[in-house]
Symmetry: C2
Subunit: 208 residues, 2 copies
């Protein structure tokens, strides 16, 4: 019984995901299966499995009989995602408040500490911290279904790169307020703060 074995598909999945996040594969680009699988040194079978998984995470899009493409998000879709994020992450914050640990709070604080007096703020670094912040709270919720939806908070990359989102200067305090509510174990307030935080970003997007 070989429980250690890591599936080829899983490794390919991670590599392709990274390629998309690193912009080695660009939004809208067609994914030539033969070429990509050759590049990765595997057959089309595990590559396809990985790509279908990414499709379910909305990073890849399939056009039947046409091929698979790196998903290109429209502003409308990003707005839809933000609506969903607001309520899902609001719920996460509420649930997390009930059983968050001290180490968790410390970790969340430390994520944004470097930017408190950094001028100008390194947007790319801040964006990474932001992603970690949101992903962590979803994990701390302890809800397994939310864990599956984590990808929702990884999808606004394009909007961020296009400069469509609010600048760090505007959001950093909101993050600390959420952390405060979590630390106080106040689920209602944590939920409210998180929802407002994400809703404001959506509104910025809608007015852009």
């Amino acid at each position: 019984m070989d429980l250690e074995h890591i599936e080829l598909t899983d490794r390919i999945y991670s590599r392709v995901k990274k390629m998309i996040f690193d912009q080695e594969l660009l939004p809208g680009q067609k994914l030539l299966q033969e070429k990509l699988s050759a590049q990765l040194g595997v057959s089309r079978t595990p590559l396809l499995k990985a790509l279908h998984r990414l499709e379910s995470e909305m990073l890849v899009e399939s056009k039947p009989r046409r091929g698979l493409f790196v998903k290109q998000m429209s502003v409308e879709e990003i707005i839809d995602i933000f609506h969903v994020r607001a309520v899902i992450e609001g719920l996460s914050a509420r649930l997390a408040a009930a059983h968050v640990q001290n180490e968790h709070i410390t970790f969340l604080r430390q994520l944004f500490q470097p930017f408190r007096d950094q001028h100008p703020i390194d947007y790319t670094e801040y964006e990474k911290a932001d992603r970690q912040f949101h992903n962590s709270i979803m994990l701390y919720s302890g809800n397994k279904i939310i864990a599956r939806l984590e990808m929702l908070s990884n999808l606004h990359l394009q909007a961020f790169q296009a400069g469509l989102l609010r600048p760090p200067e505007e959001t950093i305090d909101e993050h600390f307020n959420i952390i405060k509510a979590l630390a106080a174990g106040d689920g209602q307030q944590a939920e409210q703060f998180m929802r407002n935080h994400i809703d404001k970003s959506r509104e910025a997007l809608q007015n852009a």
Copy 2:
């Protein structure tokens, strides 16, 4: 250019999904790829693609090197799902209130009309109406991401069959109240009613 063509995988996907809902394939049961694909008259390739799609919808579970199984939900997981449903469907109701059509309202009302003075209520029929009600409102939200999460409201089947949920007599009025709020275009209230409705079912589940 053959746009009409329906992929084999898609047909297999629908058939297997139906088999699961119809309990031809039982929760926890192992899915023997060779046998199932033979039954369906296809090779393992399109069957596997379909099963992986169902996996992303949480109807099927994969245990690496062990095989694919019809997913068996634990009560904890169902509770997690209800937490998520409450906020997602609450959001759906709020968004739907903004642009719901008269025909939609009529359709929703007509779903529950038969049960108003039916005694005793046919639980199986009511469950179908309930599913349609929730799915419809998610569609009326107009949010494409919510449409992708529709499956969440199709997953409590087991809980229902186990008699763990609230009886129709208790929920029918809640449904009509939601419809009223939608008809009035009151998004806030529609959201509140929907959240309460689903949260109450979750609480019933937690106390069972």
